[in-house]
């Protein structure tokens, strides 16, 4: 369960990319070798030649996503150009019983886009048109390959932006965001992808194209859109996404506060929330994370700080000014020794740059590391941080902490050096123990990176068999063949029983009252 780089690790038992022998024993469907040939033949008729990749060295460049720890070379990579092509590829897979995995920009940190050796990787990177900007409706309709930040860029002239801002927003795609229910630094105030997507054109795993939600809210019927957002590619693929646009705030104020310790920074966070202020973001970095950020992008954070808070307030000018004064006061009351206020967009960008590049920046201070993602109740922050420090001391494994303090979403970066024997294993152990801490405190094993392949094995620690079984009822409804990104999210697939024939509407006999369906 790790975001390592440069390590030669294979997946643990029952967790990772399982070879065909193993998958059979877990009930996972495995495509017949000739099935992929059948799909290839059909795909060539649907997708232009340059969008069909079957040469070995090229295929290998797709063998991992942002979590390079897990690698599987796909049998075939297809890059469709439009919804029709994409649906055709899915249908070809469905009819041949071949698994498929959808991928956007390949930046996910849970191995959610890890390919299948017997399957097709469907890449949405060529479906990147902003189809419709409807400022009057506060909506935009985009293709799934459109980059998150490009939505905001496209709608900025209308005075709007797209609120969810994962750290990778300059590269991650809207389709990937939808699959992962991506959050970001500003979700404390604005929520997650699920709160900002109102509709999707959806290719179900049998290749049917359906409309979920739409321009208007509250579509009657089951909220299938709500179900597919965050389903990590296991319920089908989006071909169009309707997103809610948010008014650009009148005022944005960003403050950087230096504290001697994470305890004080945590106390300041709690005090701000208790005051009734909901900042757009409260981010914390500890000393080690600060060191990494300084090495990478020189944000010039306060020297000697044991922790910094990046706090951003936005909204109407009067409000922001008042709340900002309160935040400043509460930071000082809780021991901030230096407070800096960004006076222009450049300074604001620099403060954020240190935070947003923190994951990759850790590469500057450690050859290898694991990016962890867990959630705890915000009030448990000081205690959990102490426990993490204790774990770190007792194991000798260094842990840098970067996190969304406002909503208790921790991103501990567990450092190690693969060239030192046993170092990787020790790091894995600490990383796993941190997740157990999150569960112990009533939190979650993932706040925004998703379960993917990486944490499927941890799901039973958070949910019991009945919970997981019930979730998989949804999967069985959408994907009874279990071909849409199989092996992700759930440690063991649920057998969907008899695959029901597609029943359109009520059976005529049932309608006539002659027979009842049981």
């Amino acid at each position: 369960m790790s975001g390592t780089h440069g390590t030669n690790t294979t997946a643990g038992p029952g967790v990772g990319p399982t070879p065909p022998e193993a998958t059979e024993s877990t009930g996972q469907a495995v495509a017949r070798p000739d099935a992929i040939e059948a799909v290839l033949g059909r795909v060539r008729a649907i997708v232009p030649a340059e969008g069909v990749i079957s040469e070995h060295s090229r295929l290998r460049t797709y063998e991992c996503d942002g979590l390079a720890h897990y690698k599987v070379t796909p049998a075939l990579v297809v890059i469709p150009e439009d919804a029709r092509q994409l649906a055709g590829v899915v249908r070809a897979c469905a009819e041949a019983g071949v698994p498929f995995v959808a991928r956007g920009s390949g930046t996910g940190l849970s191995g959610g886009a890890l390919p299948r050796a017997d399957g097709v990787l469907i890449v949405t990177a060529r479906m990147r048109s902003v189809l419709d900007i409807r400022a009057e409706d506060q909506r935009a309709v985009v293709e799934p390959g459109v980059i998150n930040l490009d939505v905001s860029r496209a709608v900025a002239p209308h005075g709007y932006y797209y609120a969810p801002d994962p750290s990778s927003q300059q590269v991650c795609s809207i389709g990937g965001n939808l699959a992962e229910n991506s959050g970001g630094a500003h979700c404390l105030k604005y929520g997650f992808t699920t709160n900002h997507v109102t509709g999707a054109e959806w290719v179900s795993p049998d290749g049917d194209v359906v409309q979920l939600g739409g321009l208007a809210p509250d579509t009657p019927g089951y909220d299938l859109l709500g179900a597919v957002v965050g389903s990590e590619g296991t319920l089908g693929v989006a071909t169009k996404v309707t997103v809610r646009l948010t008014r650009l705030p009148e005022e944005v104020r960003t403050l950087l506060a230096g504290f001697a310790s994470t305890d004080e920074a945590g106390a300041a966070t709690s005090a701000i929330i208790a005051e009734g202020v909901v900042p757009a973001a409260i981010e914390m970095m500890d000393a080690l994370a600060i060191e990494a950020a300084e090495a990478a992008v020189q944000p010039n954070y306060p020297a000697g700080a044991g922790a910094v808070l990046v706090i951003e307030l936005d909204g109407a000018a009067d409000e922001v000014e008042h709340e900002f004064a309160a935040v400043e006061r509460l930071c000082r009351d809780n021991g901030a020794f230096e407070i800096r206020v960004a006076s222009d967009p450049t300074e604001r960008a620099l403060i954020w740059k240190g935070r947003k590049s923190a994951f990759a920046a850790v590469g500057r201070i450690s050859p290898d590391y694991i990016v962890q993602d867990g959630v705890i109740p915000r009030t448990a922050l000081p205690e959990v941080l102490r426990e993490i420090a204790h774990l770190s001391e007792s194991s000798g494994v260094r842990v840098a902490n970067v996190f969304h303090a406002g909503d208790g979403n921790l991103h501990p970066l567990v450092l190690f050096d693969e060239s030192v024997p046993g170092s990787g294993e020790a790091a894995e152990k600490v990383s796993g123990a941190i997740l157990d801490l999150c569960i112990k405190h009533g939190g979650s094993i993932t706040g925004e990176h998703g379960v993917g392949i990486d944490k499927a094995a941890y799901m039973p620690r958070m949910f019991n068999d009945e919970d997981l079984d019930t979730m998989q009822l949804v999967r069985c409804a959408f994907d009874p063949q279990n071909i849409s990104n199989p092996g992700k999210v759930f440690p063991t697939p649920r057998l969907c029983g008899e695959v029901p024939g597609k029943r359109k509407g009520v059976h005529p006999l049932q309608e006539a009252g002659v027979a009842e369906v049981f």
Partner: protein, 461 residues
């Protein structure tokens, strides 16, 4: 499932897995792409949206992350396939990815090492070889370029060039040669520079000046302007007659030995001149000259001298900001779109200085270009070797430039000027295009802004 190579083996730096004969891999032992640098890539993907070819095609293999992955495959023992070479060849070397990378991956070093291996180990097609041969027997040689000037000027004066473009004759013979022709600027009269020019007012520095190959022959006005501005700002300017090519084109295209040869000669020429700084007005040349220390790191005779030389190299905009303005700037009422040349912005990190210089001129209104980080498609000789993507990128850049509504496009590299002017001409929105230093020269000399704009062309009869 694959395994990454161990970070080290008993062989020390051996990039190939233990027990795997190195013959099988894509690379040989002579300066292969460094496995440790490859390992710096954490696969985060932040480079993707800044990579011109990824922006065009959306393919992993045509992104920096994918190209590094191909190198990794090669280091792990995969043979050098045509596919790999194709994707490495398609890299423009714009280094936008180096700017974007939060992990500090030195892609520039990786792609240069890879290209050198490709040139040595990969069999190219006869046509490709011939074209590359032609380019490298022409561009790095000012004298040969000078010979070409005559015929080109003749062709342009007679309108033969427009006829050739219209008929597409050249395009049919070879799209690459057509690209070469279409990029050639409308040529002005060459202005020879004296070997030594004295500072106006008190001398503040003695600087050497690189005249360059393409810059010197195709854009002589830029060199003249550079010399005048340096002079006006209090510099003694030395223009060594013995200087030749800096080796940038060779260096960026894997012709390592050739690049090293050029580098040694240039170091010799400027050492002899005894200058405080070596001033460059072509971004591609400047970035290579700043890398001489790496290029000659295996050469005991030149290693230290190369480091000292690289330390003296300054882009014209850098030195002018470092020295600070003394000459009076006369107003120029003009709106300017500044285009970051990749080898200035991404490779040298010089972005603020040209803007600062332009802003210092009263009346100049500076406008930013959307997708500023994206390469215009020039990329040294890329637009000649890969005309289709280069053209697409050029058109995209032209559209973004035209959208600024500025009167004048300013940039600091001859390749960009050629590429962008061709694209802007295609777009049907002609605008003035000059080097940063030409704007400064106009301001300091008190020349009216209209001189920087294109003449009203009477050609539509």
């Amino acid at each position: 499932m694959t395994q990454t190579p161990p970070q080290s083996s008993q062989a020390g730096q051996g990039p190939v897995e233990v027990g795997m004969p190195s013959l099988m891999g894509a690379f040989d032992d002579h300066r292969p792409p460094d496995a440790a640098l490859v390992g710096d890539c954490v696969h985060c993907g932040f480079c993707l949206p800044t990579c011109p070819t990824y922006v065009l095609w959306g393919e992993e293999m045509d992104s920096p992350r994918g190209r590094i992955y191909l190198m990794k495959e090669g280091l792990e023992g995969e043979p050098m396939t045509d596919a790999m070479v194709q994707h490495w060849d398609r890299c423009l070397g714009c280094m936008a990815c180096v700017t974007a990378c939060p992990s500090g991956v030195q892609y520039d070093k990786l792609i240069e090492a890879t290209r050198a291996q490709v040139e040595r180990r990969h069999e190219r097609t006869a046509k490709d070889r011939a074209l590359r041969g032609l380019i490298f027997s022409l561009f790095p040689h000012p004298r040969r370029l000078r010979l070409l000037r005559g015929p080109l000027r003749g062709v342009q004066r007679t309108g033969l060039d427009r006829w050739m473009r219209r008929t597409g004759l050249l395009e049919r013979l070879s799209p690459q040669l057509a690209a070469m022709e279409s990029l050639a600027p409308r040529l002005g009269r060459p202005i020879p520079l004296p070997e030594r020019i004295s500072a106006k007012g008190p001398r503040r520095a003695t600087v050497g000046m690189l005249t360059g190959c393409v810059q010197g022959e195709f854009f002589p006005g830029v060199n003249a302007a550079t010399a005048r501005v340096l002079q006006a700002e209090g510099c003694d300017v030395v223009v060594p007659r013995s200087q030749g090519c800096c080796g940038a084109l060779s260096h960026h295209n894997g012709r390592e030995a050739e690049a090293q040869k050029y580098a040694r000669s240039l170091i010799d020429a400027f050492e002899a001149a005894g200058v405080d700084y070596v001033i460059v007005n072509a971004a591609g040349c400047g970035s290579t000259m700043k890398e001489y220390a790496d290029l000659l790191s295996d050469d005991p005779a030149y290693r230290d001298r190369a480091r000292a030389f690289s330390g003296k190299v300054r882009d014209i905009s850098e030195i002018l900001v470092e020295l600070g303005p003394v000459a009076t700037r006369h107003p120029l009422e003009i709106s300017v779109a500044y285009h970051d040349a990749c080898h200035l912005g991404h490779a040298q990190g010089v972005r603020a200085q040209p803007r600062e210089l332009l802003r210092q001129i009263p009346g100049v209104e500076l406008r930013e270009i959307a997708e500023a980080e994206l390469c215009c498609g020039s990329a040294g000789i890329y637009n000649i070797l890969n005309p289709e993507p280069a053209r697409e990128l050029g058109d995209r850049k032209a559209a973004n430039i035209v959208a600024t509504g500025a009167d004048l496009l300013v940039t600091a590299n001859p390749g960009c000027l050629m590429q962008v002017s061709a694209a802007i001409e295609r777009s049907g929105h002609p605008m003035g295009m000059v080097h940063t230093v030409e704007v400064l020269d106009a301001s300091i000399s008190g020349v009216p802004a209209s001189e920087l704009l294109p003449p009203q062309r009477p050609e539509r009869s």
